[in-house]
Structure formats: structure tokens, C-alpha cells
Amino acid sequence: MKRASDDYVIEMLHITKVFPGIKANDDITLQLRRGEIHALLGENGAGKSTLMSVLFGLYQPDGGEIRKDGRKVEINSPNDATALHIGMVHQHFKLIDVFTVLENIVLGAEDTKNGFLTTKAARKKVQELSERYGLLVDLDAKVENITVGMQQRVEILKMLYRDNEVLIFDEPTAVLTPQEIDELMKIMKGLAAEGKSILFITHKLNEIMAVSDRVSVLRKGRYIGTVDTANTTQQELSRMMVGRDVQLVVEKKPSVPGEIIMDVQELSVMSKLYHREAVNRVSFNVRQGEIVCIAGIDGNGQSELVYALTGLEKPSSGRILLQGQDITHLSIRERAKAGMSHIPEDRHKHGLVLDYTLEQNLVLQCYQDPQFQRMGLIRFDEVRAYADKLIEDFDIRSGQGPVTIARSMSGGNQQKAIIAREVDRDMPLIVAVQPTRGLDVGAIENVHAQLVKERDAGKAVLLVSLELEEVMNLSDRILVMYEGEIVGELDPKATTVEELGLYMAGAKRQNVRAEA
């Protein structure tokens, strides 16, 4: 037996996995040492999930082999993976809401006595595990009643309960708050110290720097390399991941604001749920050539404000002027025609018809233009030509070009498609709501560059964002929303993240609204 078997608990050697139209994994080698935290880094669609699904037995590789403790193994199903003590925490938890924590943990590995369920031994074991690894959970609470952070701890306990020694975490921080992320990092370090080996899938560089021992980088299905975290930098990692230097800080010229494009006057919106003003007499304007950012903690009226601006909900009072025209009572389509582009917050629910093809999605706003229809009949050749142009101009990548089903595209490319569609309409106002949510650094850079480019072309951009870094980086003017009101207007060059945070938490406010 080779000496390497002493070092590596899992070796995936020369793994190749082909799907129709795509080589998702192309000769990838990944070696996991015992007791290390090994990060797997790559953009959306780089093949991370496919590789982990191969390891977890969900897919069979078309080439290459997997070794466990130096011995070649066949993993044909998740059951095989479990038997080899490989466990996985999925990005979207696999828990049963109405079961208790304990029931969820033992599910599938229940002890029975005379055909009846016994939980006594299980309870003891789970309690021991939870104390040993500092995983605080309430065993008798129903999963639907506990926080997301605790749900994740339940998932981890599920793996530990099955005596797994290789733990796969698939983008575990995507759903957590900053405090919960810190907590998770501590837990992961504790697990590694106890001899567990951890594979950590992510595209967030700061988390990798904080917690991992080594990093393997994938790009477009290929293996790029493995580096020790101690000997690398975020800049180098992002270069490996994207294949070129990435601008982690947005580069932009000072803005040259022009005429007012959108003027919002004393706008109020009732919340459907709570029968109170979700947006309370908000006034602001957005001018040509500037990016105005609405910052705030989620749920302080930003969504309702956007709904009212784009026409999805009726405001209870106030006016919205777009280029001097009162659009307060216009329909969604009339507003779009009057000069508003809209990049919605939820690209799956609102931005795309996922079962439509890429080209059908690209004409979603303009299929009624004479260019694309004659007497109600769609001009398919024009649609195809237009889609090809946008795909080219905005570098939208997909398996089958214009006829790719949107659902099968990666998140970054889905977002590119939406941005292409909205930007190409060439409207004076762009409303972008969390345009980089869930995207990797390369895609974020692309979105930011696109928005700055539109600003420089004289467009007015209204950006709604929950990411402090994005707010500070991208905007020319910051409006902070707190409990439905604009509590401050800040200059990103003259303020600090700390000060912004105070406004967002409601601890500080300016008297921006002249009291009537």
C-alpha cells in the first residue's frame, strides 16, 4: 500500500463526469487529509456540487476512482456513502419541519425494541455529542420552531450521530446571519480538532481564509490547484477561481449627476400583513448619472417601496414622478414603457420564467414590440437574432445557447440574462434590487461593472441592497431606511461602515424629512 494512504482519508482521483452538452468534471483530483478543513472553491457552475454529488453517491463518475483510507471504493448511492461514514450537510436542509429535533436526528437510523421506537439510547448519544462539540440544540423542539442556525446544528448532529468521519458542508453560510457564521466557524474548527475531516464548499473568500487549512480550486469543470491557506491571499484565490485578476473593489469615476429622473414625493405604502405603514411618507429623488442606494436591514420597508415604485402594489398616498410624468397610477407595463427597467430581487420567482428558454426570457419585456411580432404572430427569426446578440454582448453562457431552458443555467448566468434584458431596453431609470444576491465574485464584479457603465452612460440607478460592502462600494449616495422611513442620507466617501450600521439599526437619524 502506498504511503499516501496514511495521510488521506478520501482521495478522488482523476474524476470525470459528463452531462449532455457539458463536461461538469474534467479529470479532477481532490485529496482530503485526516483532520483537516479543506475548502473547495469555485464559481457557480464550476463543478463543485457535481464533484460532491459523485462523492456522496448521487452521480456515478464516467472516469476516475475514489479511495477511502487508501482503498478503492464504489459509491453507488448515498447509502454507500453513509456506510463509508461520509456525511453531507446540504445547502437546503433536509429536515422534516413537524418532527422534533431528536426525531430528525434519528430518522433513518432509529432504534427499535419489539418493533417499537425507543429513543432513550439515541437521546443519550445525541446529548453527549452535542456537549462534546458544543452544538447546542433543544432536542424536543419542533424543527419549524427553531432558528436556521439551530437547524444547521441539527444537520451536523445527524452526521455525527451516524459516526461520520468525513463531513461535507455545501455552502453552509449562505443562509446564516453574521453571528451564526462565526458560531459555525468555531464548530467546524472543533470538529476538525476532534479528528473529523471536513470538505467545505463555498465561494466566499473571507470564510476560507478564516477557517480552512487548504484550498482546492475548480474552474469550469477543471482542477486548477490546491494551496495552503496560510500561504495565499484572497487576491490570489480569486485569480485562481476566475482565471484573471478580479476587482474586489469597484473602480469608478466620481459621479456627475444631471437632471432628476425619478422624484418620489411623500410616498406611503400599507403593509398587507400588519395593517400599518410599511413605507411611511418617503421622499427622495434619483438623478441622471448617479447610483442611489437604499440601505437597511431586511424588512424595513425596502421591498414594499420597490413594489410601489414598479407598480406591483398601490401606494396609499404620495406621488411618483418619472421624468416629470406622474406614474403613480400607471400599470406595470405602462411604467416599464415610461422609462423604468427593473432587476427584481428574486430572479427565480420574479425575474425569469424558468421553464422558458433563454431566448423566450430575453424577450419577456419586449415581445410585443413590432420588431418581434407581426399581427400577434411571434417573429421567431427576429427573437433568435436578438437573443444571439444579447448572449454575445453580455457573455451569457449556457449549454445550448438561446434554446437552453433557463432553469438549467447557473445563477450568475441567469442574472446576466435578466440584466441583459433590462439594460438593453435602454431606459433612463434602472431599479436594481439585490442584484448580486447569491452570486460569486466574478459574477458580482460583472454586475457591478455593468451598473457603473450604465451610470456613466447617464442612466439613473436606484439600487436596493442589504450588503454593507456593496452599499459602500457602489453607491454615490446612500439613503438609509429604518422602519419604513428614510432616516439618513449619507455620502459613501464621507461616512464609515460603523456609522452606516448605526443608522440601519435605528440608533441614529437625521431630520431629513421636513415635518409637515
Partner: protein, 429 residues
Amino acid sequence: MKKRFGLLSTDGGRTIVASLISIVIGMVIGALVVLIVGICTPTIGLKGALDGVRIILGGLFVLGERTEAGALAFGFNSVSMGNMLFRAMPLVMTGLSVAIAYRTGLFNIGAAGQYLMGTLASLFVALSIPSATVPAWIIWTLALLAGMLAGALWGAIPGLLKALLNINEVIACIMTNWLAANLVTWAFEVSNLKNVAEGTKTAYIYKTTFNNVATSKLGLDQLFPGSQVNGGILIAALFAVIVYIIITKTTFGYELKACGFNRYAARYAGIHDKRNIVLSMAIAGSLASLGGALYYLSGNTEFYWNTYQTLPGEGFNGIPVALLAANNPIAVIFTAMFMSMLSICGTRLSQLTAFNEYITNVIIAVIVYMSAFSLIIKMFLGRHARKDEPLVQAAVALTESLKPGKAPPDAAKASDPKPISLDKGGADQ
């Protein structure tokens, strides 16, 4: 092998093969049921049971008589052929009705009620305007239009309830079905169109030929002498083509499908989702009611108007017709013909053997189950094709990506082998 792979490599091909497989399984299970029932019934026995299986599998080529030796006679039968087309006509229409609603994300289980309302309106017009004063073809046209209008209004009711109050269209459709059943009974009860002349019959309406109104045969009676067939089947086929064009070629169809796939995204894009839901149901209603109008305007059909406790089977059979056709309007023509062939087989069974004709309902039931199952079959076919030939597919993809002007394939899960077809409809609703 290569050819089979070619058929399975496209989505449409897999749909066709999956539907054919579900039909074959339905027929085989149906034949088994016929065999078992036959053997277990003393009056039928093994010989009768085998005859039953022959009739099921022989389909339209079973002649309605036996040879002198007592065996079944097979051959081309113009009456069966023509009647098959005639009975397929209303099924095409109700199938189209279900299919177009489904494309908008709605389940139109109200085709039966819409069919009845179409029957009511067209019969009233056809029998109330005397052909002595107005030319019969004008009455016929008016009757057809009246039927469609009645169905459109009837279909719009659940559409409006869904769009404005978000009431589930299935529940609203079930209620409008029974409202229609009772309304029709009441309307004819108080009318003077009742047929009391023909012997012992009660609760029948005059045939429309009573007023000289009847659908033109358009020469089809020459083709299939002795059968009931008339130009209605051509009208139904024409509508199938029209619906196909609406769904696939028009901006209106594009809007309808967008609403069906993802109502929220459609609304975001400025599409009036509520208006489209109402329109879709109204169109579905007018299609189903056209089926009723065409069937009873043929002049040789009798309408039993005491419908208050039964709904017409044509309405509900539109569902399996549409399902089996995977909601493709052109395919609906063929699946409707297949269903009507089965009902002809049922008649033959009761004529030539001691079987009850309702045994064919068993086959239809199995096929309905299988057509719901055809999605799973299709999924399996997709998997099979991919597993067999990953290298061929990769090669195709590679050559595709090397063509000039094309972006290289993203290393995304461009075609995840875990198909999502089953939750396609439900995921975004």
C-alpha cells in the same frame, strides 16, 4: 439502435414514445381483464373471452357480424371508421379545452358543464328559429356561435373566481358543472322543444333535422357510407390547428404559457395575469361547448335532457385525451380518435360476445392512470437515453460548441440528469 436513440433524444420524441407505451400497457392490462372476467363468467367462457381479446386488439377492423362458422370476421369497416371519427369530434374539442387551460396552469375539470351549456344554447337556437323563414345554414352557424358563446361565459366564471378571488378553479369548475346539469334540465323542462312524438321516448329533445338544421357531410358520407360522420370532425381538426398556432406562434400564447409557468414573473414583466386566466378559461369553455354544439347539430343525434344527475362523459374524457396527448393540440386529434375507437370496441363487445360494453371503461381507466404515469415513463426514457450514450451526446455538444459564433458551454449543470419534470407544474405555483 441508432434510430431509436434519435427518437428518444428529443423531448417531443420521448413524449410520443411515453404516450405510446402507456397506451400499449393500458391495452395489455385491459385485454387481461377481459380474459379473466370472461373465464370467470359462465356465460362467456374461454372461447368468448378469447373473442373479447380479439375484439379489443382488432379494434376498428372487427366487422359487426360472425362468419357462418361462428368465428369473428375481420376487415375494413366503413361504418366503424366513420363512427369513430364522429365520436372523436366532441373528444377533440374537450381535449383541446383541457389542454389550453393546462398551458395557462389551470386544470379545467369543468369541460362537462361547458359542453352541456354549449349543447343547450345551440339546440335552443337550432330548434327555435324556424327554417321556413331563415335559411338553415344561417341557423346552423348561429347555433354554433351561440354554443361557443355560452361555453365561453360558463368557462369564464371559474376563471373570474380564480383571477379575482383566488378560488381554486377545480372546485369552481365542479360546482359550475352541476349548476349546468341542473340548468339544462330546467331549461328544456320549461321549453317546448321536447320530443314526445317518437313512441315511448321521454326526456328527449327533437333532433335538429326536425328543423332541417344539420352539419354538412362535406362528402365524408361517401368515404364512410352508412356511418354518422359529418364535416364536424374537420371543424374540430381545424380548431386543433388554430389552438396549436395560438399556443406556439402568437404573443398571446406566449403570455398564456408565461402565466402558466410562473405567474409572478409574468406579472413582473407587465403581463396581465388575471386577464389571461379569465381569457384562457373562456377559450377553454368555448372549445368544450363547441364539442357539444357540433355533436348535437349533426342532425342524427338525440339529446337526453334529464341531465341533472349525470354529466356527459365527453367532458371528463377530455382530460385523458389531453393528458395522453401531453397537451399538444395536434396530438389531441389522434388521442381523441383512439379513445373513440375504444368506445366502438365496447359496442362490438356487447354485440358479438356476452361481455358488457362497459368493460372498455376499464381499459380507458387503465390508460388514464398510465397517461398520468407517462411523465414517469418519459423521465425513465430520458435517463435511459443519457446513460446509454453519454459520449455521443458529449461529442454532439462539443461539435456544437465549436461552431463559430457560439459561446463555449458553461460548466453549469446544463442538463442535470435528475429531471425536474415532475414538479415542473407545481414548483412555481
